[in-house]
């Protein structure tokens, strides 16, 4: 087990190293970040000044070392616009993003899990087709468009819900549905396939043979075991939602991490954009590492595979 943890941790470190190198290179390969930052038509002398101020006149290896140092100290560099460490800004927004992501997770559970179970228990029934339709629409209806349509229907026409901003649950409903929509579809499909697999297993056959009522077999034996991969996916989805809800947060003026990234783009604040992207990568690598280790802890067979 110890060896497994060490190997996985090393992989995670290598992954983060490559990620940092990628982000660093992209920022510099695609042109001068200073010209991205400066107003169009800025004087060359001003550009040189900015370049020196941000240390962009130093050789690349020195710049990369500074970039890595910023990541390791947890500051992720200083935002050009806010003149604050990017990590401070990131963690200021984190609770807002967490609120939205948790609500969206709840929505995806409410839609995805029951529909997934019913379609697995009654394969090829009407309910299975309803489930397949939901799964298909989850992939085909862009969440941000769903958000716009909900604003039109529930805010503009019916005047039930506020269009944007943060506040009570009424502000949370529409962004959570718009964000959770896509993830509901993925949970549904995983719940269905996971249930189908469990229902085919020997111990379910035994439970049926010994005369347990169908409901007890499904609720007590099948569902509990089918739930493990589903909860894992939900955990990873939660971290993705924290970092990737850019458009939803923009549409609903939700002051989360996604909007921070959007602001960074429009204020030409490249240290902010670079830092937020890196932080997102770090969080996702860490959650994946955690999941790997937990799985290995639960299931010894995993420890032995590479």
């Amino acid at each position: 087990m110890g060896q497994f943890v060490i190997r996985r941790t090393l992989y995670a470190i290598v992954t983060l190293f490559i990620l940092s190198l990628t982000i660093f290179t992209v920022v510099r390969l695609t042109g001068d970040p200073v010209t991205l930052m400066a107003e169009p038509g800025a004087q060359e002398a001003d550009l040189a000044l900015v370049r020196r101020e941000w240390g962009l006149d130093r050789p690349w290896p020195v710049q990369y070392a500074a970039f890595v140092k910023n990541i390791l100290t947890g500051e992720l560099g200083e935002s050009f616009n806010y003149e604050m460490p990017v990590s401070t800004l990131y963690f200021q927004r984190l609770p807002n993003s967490l609120e939205l992501a948790l609500a969206a997770t709840l929505i995806s559970f409410v839609i995805g899990i029951p529909a997934g179970i019913v379609s697995a228990v009654r394969v090829n029934s009407v309910w299975d087709h309803v489930g397949k339709t939901i799964a298909l629409l989850g992939l085909s209806v862009p969440g941000f468009w769903l958000g716009l349509v909900m604003i039109l229907v529930f805010s503009v026409w019916l005047r039930w819900l506020p269009t944007s901003g943060q506040g009570g649950w009424r502000n949370l409903v529409m962004p959570a549905v718009a964000l959770g929509w896509y993830f509901a579809a993925s949970l549904l499909r995983l719940t269905r396939s996971s249930m189908l697999e469990v229902l085919r297993s020997e111990y379910i056959k035994l439970a049926r043979l010994k005369g347990l009522p169908a409901f007890a077999v499904i609720a007590m034996h099948a569902f509990k075991n089918a739930l493990i991969p589903v909860l894992t996916l939900a955990g990873i989805n939660l971290v993705v939602m924290l970092n990737a809800a850019v458009i939803i947060e923009v549409i609903f003026a939700w002051p989360g991490i996604g909007r921070l990234l959007y602001e960074g783009i429009f204020q030409r604040d490249f240290p902010l954009v670079q830092g937020v992207v890196m932080e997102a990568g770090v969080m996702i690598v860490l959650i994946n590492l955690l999941v790997d280790i937990l799985y290995a802890y639960i299931d010894p067979r995993i420890r032995l595979t590479r």
């Binding site: 990620l19 298909l136 716009l148 783009i265 429009f266 996702i284």
Partner: protein
């Protein structure tokens, strides 16, 4: 019937048999996709107006023709510059389809190539490619795409390259996994013993056996890429104005949502929805056709 007659009609029968593929064509996806492809190809001929120029004499924010205040000259209304929404949708189809198809081809080519190299060569090449794949998979695709688009600057072809660079990772993983088992199969071993070079083995023996998977992945990627392009354009880092794209049309329409100008939001979104839905259904059909094991799932 003489032998010669049978021989002479044999090619015709074979052709008919081949054409009977048509029996189980996916009608719904094709019924949606074919018109969209035709519209995109012949946008210049079909579109009633120039999509980038205001219509002389038309008002801004005219509703569709059936709504009060609408005009039959601009069937689906006008936008904030009194441009024709229908014409913009028609030209927008071109952007979405080009980005979706070419972006998928770019992603598929990168991913399949790297996946085959990693799986067949193994060793440090495998380690290097897979660690890069892991790193690139760690970022949420849309965040990575936004990041790249911000740094590279907006243009349609840049978006194609960017989305290709973001979505290749899934191909690399899947294809590598398949190559790992193909590598142990006898026909590959025999080719190696016969002295075929690595390049030859990869191109002649491995590639034909992973094309099916790559095609299935591709059919499922197109929709994702189309939505990603719309998202980037919506955020203003995608296809730059005045070129019409469905995503940027949604962004333009957003400010008028509050006063109820619904047509600016509903129509572009419906177009995205229909095209993506059709590609997903087509992908499902393809998957079942190419992989008999999937039929029961």
């Amino acid at each position: 019937m003489s032998v010669t007659t049978i021989q002479s009609i044999a090619p015709a029968i074979r052709l008919l048999n081949r054409l009977r593929i048509g029996r189980d064509l996916p009608l719904l996806p094709l019924a949606i996709l074919v018109p969209f492809v035709l519209i995109a190809m012949f946008a210049n001929v079909i579109a009633p107006y120039d999509p980038t120029e205001p219509i002389p004499g038309a008002k801004i924010f005219e509703p569709p023709f059936w709504a009060p205040g609408g005009s039959v000259h601009t069937l689906l209304g006008t936008d904030y510059q009194s441009r024709d929404v229908l014409s913009r949708l028609i030209f927008g189809a071109r952007v979405s389809l080009i980005v979706g198809v070419v972006g998928t081809i770019v992603a598929g080519s990168i991913g399949t190539t790297l996946g085959m190299l990693a799986g067949y060569i193994g060793g440090w090449v495998d380690q290097l490619i897979m660690r890069v794949t892991d790193a690139w998979l760690a970022l949420p695709a849309i965040v990575f795409a936004i990041f790249l688009a911000t740094m590279v600057g907006p243009s349609m072809w840049n978006i194609v390259i960017i989305l290709g660079c973001v979505y290749w990772t899934r191909y690399a993983r899947v294809i590598r996994g398949e190559v790992l088992s193909l590598r142990e199969r006898e026909f590959v071993k025999l080719a190696e013993i016969a002295g075929a070079s690595r390049t030859r083995v990869i191109l002649r023996h491995i590639l034909p056996n992973v094309t099916n998977s790559a095609m299935v992945l591709a059919s499922l990627t197109i929709g994702v890429v189309i939505i990603a392009e719309a998202s980037l354009s919506f955020l203003g880092v995608g296809v730059p104005p005045p070129q019409p794209a469905w995503g940027s049309m949604l962004a333009d329409g957003r400010s008028m949502l509050m006063v109820g100008d619904w047509w600016l939001t509903i129509f572009p979104g419906l177009c995205i929805l229909l095209v993506v839905l059709a590609t997903q259904l087509f992908g499902d059909w393809l998957r079942i056709r190419l992989d008999p094991q999937q039929r029961n799932l």
